[in-house]
């Protein structure tokens, strides 16, 4: 009903068949569109405006971008986040799908339910909670797994927090809190595959592996792509964990470890909202490229018309 309708699109009178909803579509989405405009689109446009202007509101072109690229913290922050993203994406995609397939397989229903609950527990522990827990898990002198840390050659907390380990640590923390929820979603998606399909596969002589790879996983492809996009987006925005670990580890973690933290420093410590917006746009573009690739390769936007 708003700008959406005004957006020029291909003429689709031919495609608008009776029985496709008529005006109800715009009506049904209107509430969401208001929120989307207020808290999604307008703020984003304002951020874009900020990224191309300076503090006096003058148009600066790409100068804000070249300025932040030259910041001595920019390169390290992006190296950190890329390393983190690779570990995090591999963990979340491979493990959640694999676990969901196993849990959906031939397993007593009660065991499967219990495991899903247990795997989910850390999902409730976000932010301060997870940092408090991991602070103790990673400190060899108080950790329940200190034998493991010591076997890996870490005698002190400071050694565990060596700069080279941080990407892995944050990926593990993120996986710890995030995986349970996604296992539930993947499990639900697998549950949605009708039993006849699976039965047919079994009669055709497909084992659990082949069923998983040739039938189950392709059928929940949309969910996997969706998860990958969101996991990637959430990953690029990493902020709370390094920020809190910075406080809690008495400063061993740089306050500009991730690009989002750097943007935060720009915005709220230097009052440089323009530079912060420029960094955020770089992150956004990075996310869009990955999302665009995933979406175009998987046809996520297409409504199945058969």
């Amino acid at each position: 009903m708003t700008t959406l309708v005004a957006a020029p699109d291909r003429p689709r009178g031919r495609r608008r068949r009776s029985g496709e909803g008529g005006f109800s579509g715009p009506l049904f989405v209107s509430g969401y569109v208001i929120l989307l405009l207020a808290f999604g689109v307008l703020p984003t446009l304002y951020a874009v405006y900020l990224a191309f202007t300076n503090v006096r509101g003058q148009f600066t072109g790409i100068n804000q971008f070249t300025r932040v690229f030259q910041d001595f913290r920019f390169g390290p922050a992006f190296v950190n986040i890329v390393a983190y993203l690779v570990i995090w994406l591999v963990l979340i995609v491979v493990l959640t799908v694999a676990v969901a397939v196993v849990l959906r397989g031939r397993m007593p229903a009660r065991l499967s339910t219990t495991l899903r609950f247990l795997y989910y527990i850390p999902g409730a522990l976000a932010g301060v909670a997870s940092i408090l827990v991991w602070l103790f898990m990673l400190d060899p002198s108080v950790s329940p797994v200190n034998w493991l840390l010591k076997a890996l050659g870490f005698g002190t907390f400071a050694q565990v927090l060596a700069p080279g380990h941080l990407s892995l640590i944050f990926a593990l923390i993120a996986f710890w809190t995030g995986a349970g929820g996604w296992i539930v979603v993947m499990y639900g998606a697998l549950d949605n595959i009708s039993t006849e399909v699976l039965e047919a596969a079994r009669i055709d002589g497909a084992g659990p592996w082949r069923t998983a790879i040739h039938i189950q996983i392709p059928m929940i492809r949309k969910w996997i792509v969706y998860m990958a996009i969101l996991a990637f987006a959430a990953g690029t925005q990493l902020f709370v964990e390094p920020q809190l670990l910075q406080t809690a580890s008495l400063g061993r973690v740089s306050p500009t470890w991730s690009p989002n933290q750097l943007a935060y420093v720009y915005a709220f410590q230097r009052g440089d909202f323009n530079g912060a917006a420029a960094i955020s746009l770089v992150l956004l573009v990075l996310g869009l490229i990955v999302a665009g690739l995933l979406v175009t390769r998987s046809g996520l936007f297409k409504v199945d018309e058969q």
């Binding site: 959406l4 309708v5 699109d9 009776s18 029985g19 909803g21 109800s24 579509g25 715009p26 049904f28 989405v29 969401y32 929120l35 989307l36 207020a38 808290f39 703020p43 304002y46 951020a47 676990v99 339910t113 609950f117 795997y119 989910y120 527990i121 850390p122 409730a124 522990l125 932010g127 301060v128 909670a129 408090l132 827990v133 991991w134 103790f136 898990m137 108080v142 710890w176 929820g181 979603v185 639900g188 549950d191 949605n192 969706y226 987006a233 690029t236 925005q237 709370v240 809190l244 809690a248 989002n260 943007a263 935060y264 915005a267 955020s280 992150l283 956004l284 996310g287 999302a291 936007f301």
Partner: protein
Amino acid sequence: MTRRAVTFLVVGLVLALLLVFFVLPALWLLLAPTKTASELVSDSPLAFGSFGNVVRAWQHLTGFENGVLFTWLRNSAVYSIGALILTLVTSIPAGYALALTKFRGRKLLLTVTLIVMIMPSAALVLPIFLELNLAGLVGTVWSIILPFSFYPFGVYLVYIYFATSLPRDLLSAARLDGATEWQIFARVGLPLAKPVVGLVAFFSFVGNWNNFFLPYLVLPGSDQFPIQVGLNQLLSSTPSFNPVAGAGLDITSPELALAVIIAILPVLVLFLFSQRTLVSGMLAGSTKE
């Protein structure tokens, strides 16, 4: 069949390892309030202290700034539930319409939704803050509830759910019968959407309950903080993390752990009770094929 046995063993081992990975830290957390701060460091990590310590930690915690903990919990509940209602009211019809009707700008809407989902929060906080100020909402509960209720993730969940699980034939049949779009949505769509409603409600609630960044920046006073921001304030009042704090303050690691347990209880209880609906319910939609 030894190959099956090996597979079984490997799979079992992986599940068990993951179990330890997920549960051990949580178990540690559960045991933490039973110890004193020094026992936490000196005793065996998974040892049980005493219930007396839990009681003492509880007294310290509720004594912190005259029981502000309860205010934080109530605030979290108000923000999360308020936003949850608005999220459901807006995202269910939206996801339904995106999946099952065709209208101009549908694809644009999906794309824009995706883009703003990827937008880093640090960039959005300032514009959102300025908007809220313009609307005179800063300092009110709406300054949290309204931004929280914008939940593109939920719209996507509903969209994918309807796109993959609700046969369009069912809708066509209803339309041929002369039902209005609203009637179709209310009588066909909504009943089938029950599981995804549960899923969206759950994730929205948990997301809002755990959200830190926006309330941290937008709310002016500590008596308006939700529990997550409150936990941060507790953290910075703990001598272990802020050595100069703590004259007359009894907030140490066990108190913090107890606060964390209290903070996550609502989420865990909710999960326990809704898990059946969350998962088994999704089956209801599988009339496809």
